[in-house]
Symmetry: C2
Subunit: 346 residues, 2 copies
């Protein structure tokens, strides 16, 4: 049923040249006269010939494919933010003529999952990979970097690890927290609590440290009972507030959530307990999630430009793939305050 595949031998025969010349035409070698090139191209076009990718790669070409690895215990299909990251990488890579092989890893403790990621690299399915959502120190990633693979990582800070094939992208969480606290201070708040993110990931402790630093700068008291453990999911925000309301001797007037999803959960819990946002308590998020502006109340948050980050990270990875990794080049993306209606002046 399937037509016989046409290959370079056949093209060579039809064009009256050798396979070497066909290959030179395909790969744009300069030492092919225009006339010969055109003669070969004509046959190529006529027969709809595309060189077999596996043969090209086996002979030494790049795959022009990058791997995208999302680490998330949740059901990614329904997470808007993660989904946006996926498309963002695809679109950026596509602009460079690269393809994206996307993978979702539920649990980095799962040996099968780890094996399957390694397989993709060792099999040479891809030229490099991008990891999103991993712990700050993830053995799998460290092994791949040690093996010399080109790896882009969102959200990592590992002092001293400056291999040239490690590309690191972070948001300026310090600055974000400072913006949030400056804004709240301007509204008259000084009793400010925080719901922490996942402390295994770099952005968890980094946001918390930013909070501590900004609170100290203002001379605001950090009350341990207002520092609530959590992670980056909505449910954690909900639970954090339940805990706060049950056990705290008094309440803060404002709370900064590790991200907007956490803020949604927190606000839900506050509402269920008869507290109104922002009347009784102000809440500020982090990310500027697609839903934040549609939320009730519209969420004041620290906007972070994920698309811009993925754009730079994808570009940097592809550059290293094509030009080689000469030195470690981490970068940081800024953030800005977006004022909506979830905070009120005191």
């Amino acid at each position: 049923m399937k037509k016989a595949e046409i290959n370079s031998t056949e093209i060579a025969r039809l064009a009256g040249v050798s396979r070497s010349t066909v290959s030179r035409v395909i790969n744009n070698y300069p030492n092919v006269p225009a006339e010969t090139r055109e003669k070969v191209m004509k046959v190529i076009r006529q027969y709809n010939y595309y060189p077999n990718m596996s043969a090209q790669v086996l002979a030494g070409k790049k795959t022009r494919t990058i791997g995208l690895f999302l680490i998330d215990a949740g059901h990614v299909s329904s997470d808007i933010l993660t989904n946006m990251l996926i498309s963002s990488v695809i679109e950026n890579a596509s602009a460079y003529g690269y393809y994206v092989l996307t993978n979702i890893i539920r649990n980095t403790q799962d040996q099968d999952a780890v094996r399957s990621v390694k397989e993709i690299f060792y099999q040479r399915r891809i030229d490099g990979g991008i990891f999103i959502g991993a712990a700050n120190h993830e053995p799998l990633i460290e092994e791949l970097i040690a093996e010399g693979f080109m790896i882009g990582i969102v959200d990592q800070h590992l002092p001293g690890r400056t291999e040239p094939n490690r590309i690191v992208a972070n948001f300026d969480n310090d600055r974000g927290m400072e913006l949030a606290i400056d804004y709240l201070a301007g509204l008259g708040h000084s009793k400010i609590g925080v719901i922490n993110g996942d402390m295994k990931r770099q952005s968890g402790p980094s946001k918390y440290e930013g909070y501590l630093k900004a609170m100290a700068k203002r001379g605001f008291e950090v009350r341990p009972e207002w520092v609530l453990p959590g992670d980056f999911h909505q449910e954690a925000g909900y639970q954090a507030i339940q805990k706060l309301l049950q056990s705290a001797s008094s309440l803060p007037t404002a709370i900064i959530a590790a991200n907007d999803s956490v803020a949604f959960g927190a606000i839900q819990a506050l509402h269920e307990n008869g507290l109104s946002v922002p009347r009784d308590i102000s809440v500020i998020g982090f990310d500027d999630h697609a839903l934040s502006r549609m939320h009730q109340p519209p969420l004041t948050t620290i906007r972070v430009d994920f698309m811009h980050m993925m754009n730079r990270l994808t570009g940097a990875l592809i550059k290293k793939i094509e030009q080689g990794a000469d030195r470690f080049e981490p970068f940081t993306i800024g953030c800005e305050l977006v004022v909506r209606d979830s905070c009120r002046p005191l």
Copy 2:
């Protein structure tokens, strides 16, 4: 810097067997004694050996990769629904041990875009592909099917085209429209307008025909000025309402939108023109978009299970890839009414 790659020759040498035997172990041939197998496996594990994928494919193995092609003129990164489809296919394929190469096509008229899609197939990067968002008759897809590639298509109806390598998935739009109109009729509505979707896609005319059929069944009059052209984007809903309000001699009491995004746009336009939903006019959507339940007012809609569809379609495609395509097997996924607050009894 990069370690020398280990290959099957090396593994064979270390295990004291031939490359043939190493290959038989890797491919689980039955005629290898447990003892030999274990001896080889030990070396494979010890040296972290994974067979080179390009070599395997060149020697006749499958790529175990499927292509996912999203056709959408909009900026996909921000479209929640499309993003959900992407993750859904990835997760389903992954369960079968397949990888997904995702591509976004802005315009099927763009020759470069078309060429790049063909290239992926002809280069043998993938074993098959899934197309979402294409016109009912898309020459690119028809060419690929004619070439014998395994193709899954969402939203297509081409009578007589029943090639075994064509896999077609549709929603039951007829039934969806019937549910919507039955519900509205139950609330006392009979003056029901419709905002059509993209008529080049199968779901456009198919929803419209469902509307006509259900209206006829009830004996409700179809007023041409209440049949509004559009497409599947929010802006189209907005424009359709603007046009309706400017030119119609009287207004319907209810409007069915081609999908929820269109409904959002329609409601926005109604509000901007001082009309309240559902007080002045009832609106019903289609899809049950992730935002529909958070919308103001929460949107009544016809829910359609995209995940289920992608699940079946991905499974069917992989089955055909592995077992061969023997016959044409289209399928249809049902839908259900989700009542929220955007319609009111008359």
